[in-house]
């Protein structure tokens, strides 16, 4: 029996590799405006050029888009620039959204591409490494009290995520920052859902091993 997300289940205990051409499955959209499920009516209003609707869409999604950008470009100022670029592109292109994909997949495809373009445009590989090193080196000294409160953990996790290669970092950030489903991530990145699942497994394992080896994330 095939779910459409993964291949037909073999009758033996051998796990089959995922074939090409899998379809994305997803639940029907739920009407709410909280950045995670975008109301079809809101999108339609935006497409009609309703400025209040676009403003509502901006407020509902700005923090998620910024969070994704921040984890990709690893610089707050650049992340804000990326966020601006994303919403300007959205404003120009929303009339072109044809509804064939999930809106959030389309939105975060724009966000991911904008962030990748920014990284390529503004940073040489050496500058990227320097920025990552700066991110790690700029951690303030953490008191035992802060460590207990988890502040150190949050910073160590951010630094560990920054060390992941982009193809693992992207699905992880879209899953845990933008809170996309596997299908939505697949749509945003142009991957099959099975590939998304595989990369998420690898990313989470690498994160765990990285942080187990160095809980405070002090190494470059």
């Amino acid at each position: 029996m095939s779910s459409g997300f993964f291949p037909a289940v073999p009758t033996t205990d051998e796990v089959a590799p995922s074939p090409a051409g899998m379809e994305e499955t997803g639940a029907p959209p739920r009407p709410t405006i909280d950045g995670r499920e975008i109301d079809a009516e809101l999108v339609a209003a935006c497409r009609r050029g309703d400025p209040k609707a676009f403003e509502a869409l901006f407020h509902a999604t700005k923090d998620y888009v910024y969070g994704v950008a921040l984890h990709m470009v690893r610089d707050e100022s650049l992340a804000a620039d990326v966020t601006q670029e994303v919403f300007l592109k959205l404003l120009r292109r929303i009339g072109q959204f044809d509804g064939r994909s999930a809106f959030r997949s389309w939105l975060y495809r724009i966000a991911v591409n904008a962030a990748l373009d920014t990284v390529r445009r503004r940073r040489s590989p050496e500058e990227l490494e320097e920025a990552a090193a700066h991110l790690l080196a700029s951690r303030p000294v953490v008191t035992p009290e802060e460590r207990l409160a988890g502040v150190d953990r949050a910073r160590a996790v951010r630094a560990a995520v920054a060390r992941l290669p982009a193809k693992l970092r992207l699905p992880l950030v879209l899953r845990f920052v933008a809170e996309l489903s596997y299908g939505e991530i697949a749509g945003a990145l142009g991957l099959r859902p099975g590939t998304v699942a595989s990369r998420l497994s690898r990313a989470q394992r690498r994160l765990a091993r990285d942080l187990a080896a160095d809980p405070e994330g002090g190494r470059p």
């Binding site: 403003e55 509502a56 919403f87 394992r205």
Partner: protein
């Protein structure tokens, strides 16, 4: 027959994203494969770490800048839509000016806010906020993270998957009026929540933050903008709203709706004006 491992499915298995038949296959494999069980433990640990990634908020200065850019772009697109014929150019110029003005008015730098009266019993987040307020006032609970630094409290919240855009800087007239005391975990089963303690004009104020999907009854944004629930309860004023997947309740005994406490996060002039102009629900 070669038995393959199930590494690639472990995250989806943990997230409940596998179809039932494949889930059962993975489960049976894990029951007999120690290697994959060890890897599943790693995936679970990585998942817990990654859960701390959420809760990032776009800085308010950037938000203002972006909204201004969107407004300009909306105005420019109205101009570009006008035809170039010189014969009726003056009519189109007038129409474009009107459109620009409408676009300017419509796409404002701050969202519309509607205060609605809360009906029925307090929603779970309001009830949690009232209980937390009582515990802090009687001394039964004290802040876990005692700090006067908004940045430290923001980091502390982010570590818990929550967020609040607490202002770092204040103008002279407010500088001494807002005193950050600290933050505490006030979670209950099924609701991860944190309380940020303040004194505003000498009055104790509590800002309770939770994940919106764990709070039943939290007001959602409408097409007209942000909706804020207002409730009075035994002298306490409660304001409840949602933003970017989080739900918030402010509880205080400040005058009016208690809306001055909103300036914990909002310090720019336009938002200050908006807060000051909030009116009770009809």
């Amino acid at each position: 027959m070669i038995r393959r491992h199930v590494d690639r499915y472990l995250a989806a298995y943990r997230d409940g994203a596998l179809p039932e038949d494949l889930r059962r296959l993975v489960e049976r494999h894990l029951a007999r494969c120690r290697r994959c069980r060890e890897r599943a433990t790693e995936v679970e640990a990585g998942r817990r770490h990654a859960s701390a990634l959420g809760g990032v908020a776009l800085p308010e200065e950037a938000e203002e800048r972006i909204l201004a850019a969107l407004r300009r772009a909306a105005g420019e697109s109205e101009e570009a839509a006008a035809p170039a014929s010189p014969r009726h150019a003056w009519r189109w110029a007038a129409a474009a000016t009107v459109a620009l003005g409408l676009a300017f008015l419509a796409v404002r730098a701050v969202p519309d806010v509607t205060v609605v009266a809360a009906g029925g019993p307090p929603i779970p987040l309001e009830a949690l906020a009232l209980e937390a307020k009582a515990r802090f006032e009687t001394g039964a609970q004290r802040p876990e993270e005692v700090t006067g630094s908004p940045a430290e409290v923001r980091d502390w919240l982010e570590a818990r998957g929550l967020s609040a855009a607490l202002a770092d800087r204040r103008t002279g007239r407010d500088r001494d009026a807002f005193e950050l005391v600290g933050a505490s975990d006030v979670s209950r089963p099924g609701m991860t929540a944190a309380a940020v303690s303040y004194r505003v004009d000498g009055h104790p104020v509590l800002l309770v933050a939770a994940r919106q999907d764990e709070v039943a009854g939290a007001p959602r944004w409408g097409l007209l903008g942000k909706r804020v629930l207002y409730r009075e309860h035994r002298g306490a004023k409660l304001l409840t709203w949602t933003n970017s997947g989080k739900a918030y309740t402010l509880v205080s005994d400040l005058p009016g709706l208690g809306q001055r406490a909103c300036l914990l996060c909002h310090t720019d002039e336009r938002r200050r004006r908006l807060v000051a102009e909030l009116r009770p629900p009809a």
